[in-house]
Amino acid sequence: MDSPVNHPAHEGAVDIDGIMQQIAEHKGCGTEGGSGKASCGSGAGQGDLPTEIWEKVKNHPCYSEEAHHHYARMHVAVAPACNIQCNYCNRKYDCANESRPGVVSEKLTPEAASRKVLAVASTIPQMTVLGIAGPGDPLANPAKTFKTFELISEVAPDIKLCLSTNGLALPDHVDTIEKFKVDHVTITINMVDPEIGAQIYPWIFWNHRRYTGVEASQILHERQMLGLEMLTERGILAKINSVMIPGVNDQHLVEVNKAVKSRGAFLHNIMPLISAPEHGTVFGLNGQRGPSAQELKALQDSCEGEMNMMRHCRQCRADAVGLLGEDRSAEFTTEKIMDMEIAYDSAGRKAYQEKVEEERAAKVAARSEELEALAGTASDITVLAAVATKGSGLINEHFGHAKEFQIYELSTAGAKFVGHRRVDLYCQGGYGDEDALPTVIRAINDCHAVFVSKIGGCPKAELTAAGIEPVDEYAHGFIEKSALKWFRTYLERVASGEVEHTRHGDASIRQGALINVA
């Protein structure tokens, strides 16, 4: 097949054979897992990020919570093979109506993937990051993964490259990762104790053998730690993903957090287990439950202080496109891409992103203004608030159209983003769906207020009855500024005795909503 990408003439093309040969050589050099090599690790307490790190994360939607309101990412699914088996994954499950992490309907060749990246980058100018995250392990497929990176760095050099791996093969590929200027690597680490690992991983395939039980997890653990250390030594930012599995590794993740922190990991992302029986995963079938919203938050809170915690992860699918929490992948199917006229305009992209930066600066200014107004108010009340937003850091979504709510913790110290809750669409095409409302309420049941751009009379009444105040008077305002403004009035109302401050209960993490992000 012809290369589907409109290369601007081929001079200066990278030496593919050389790279492939390198990849092949790397594959063979799996040295024995280096245990006990804990040497490096960055200085603790990076309260303020050094400039060179800020440059790497400031417009990366996953590495910077703030950036995720403004910048988009895409994943390309070029890597279906995997070298380990996890009890929360079922590789036979792939359905076009389904959407969940690691599940993907269209597997692409590297050439098709690079055309897709160009198509998306031309349509969505705030798309700054390309990730390869499966559906298998990108490093179990090194040839396809690195070929994709190579093609993309040729045609769209301004796009940041990003990779997710289980870490088993990572030490073999760190040099190649560095060579392709992949600045961001995510390693999924669920344990540092192989006894716990044995409950999560039935087997791994390494050095041409299948290993099982504790031995398998021991190897995986050593390779993960070695890989992380090697990334840190080279100044490549490492994010750690951990799946919180109640009763298996929930308490243990505090331990994991310490281990990765001491090896210089930049960010820790603790995600809830997704395990519905209909997925046919081992955990799904044996009834292993996922955590509740408050359990997840409590664990994240207890790890915070140790290092940056990521709270805005959407557990995206392997072909996700767009802002986090939004899925535009259906606009970019192979068929549609082939018909698209692609004009990659890097100057236009740059101009657009400069506008985004202005908007972002205005938001930061508004927040500090409101914080000043709050200063001096003494109260130890904290409340959670849910926000309906389409992005840009604004309250700009109709209650009935929100597919998720962003959750902020409000206190006199400020408005802190603490997570998001997916919900089923409450309102499809303008008609309220009777059954969806209770599930929305359950998903934000621990919140005192919900900020929306618009809301109908009926849901308003039911939210109020559930103790969640619907707030639409800050429509299209900046989230943090508006939330703090509301919080100020809330404190006043509590002080005057107009409302009684009560604690709210727990909320459920909607498994169905996590899975069906239409």
């Binding site: 093979a81 590789r91 298998g136 040839a143 395939f205 041409h208």
Partner: protein, 73 residues
């Protein structure tokens, strides 16, 4: 002396393709297939057939009874 892939089980994940020392495995669109003329059951290369060891779905890479086993027990 050959393995085959049970196509109704194969998820087309491609894990086996890269591991075969004989390049006996190829992608036929919805499933992967083994060329029996090239397959040696990995004898001489590895202790166990690589396709079966890496395949995430049990009993998907299996001995093809149409071909006599390399080391008949």
């Amino acid at each position: 002396m050959a393995f085959k892939i049970v196509s109704s089980q194969c998820t087309s994940c491609s894990a086996c393709e890269a591991e075969c020392p004989n390049e006996a495995i190829s992608d036929k669109g919805t499933t992967f297939v083994i060329d029996p003329a090239k397959c040696t059951e990995c004898v001489g290369h590895y202790d166990s057939p690589q396709c079966a060891a890496v395949c995430p779905i049990d009993d998907t890479c299996v001995v093809d009874p149409k071909f006599p086993r390399y080391q008949a027990a």
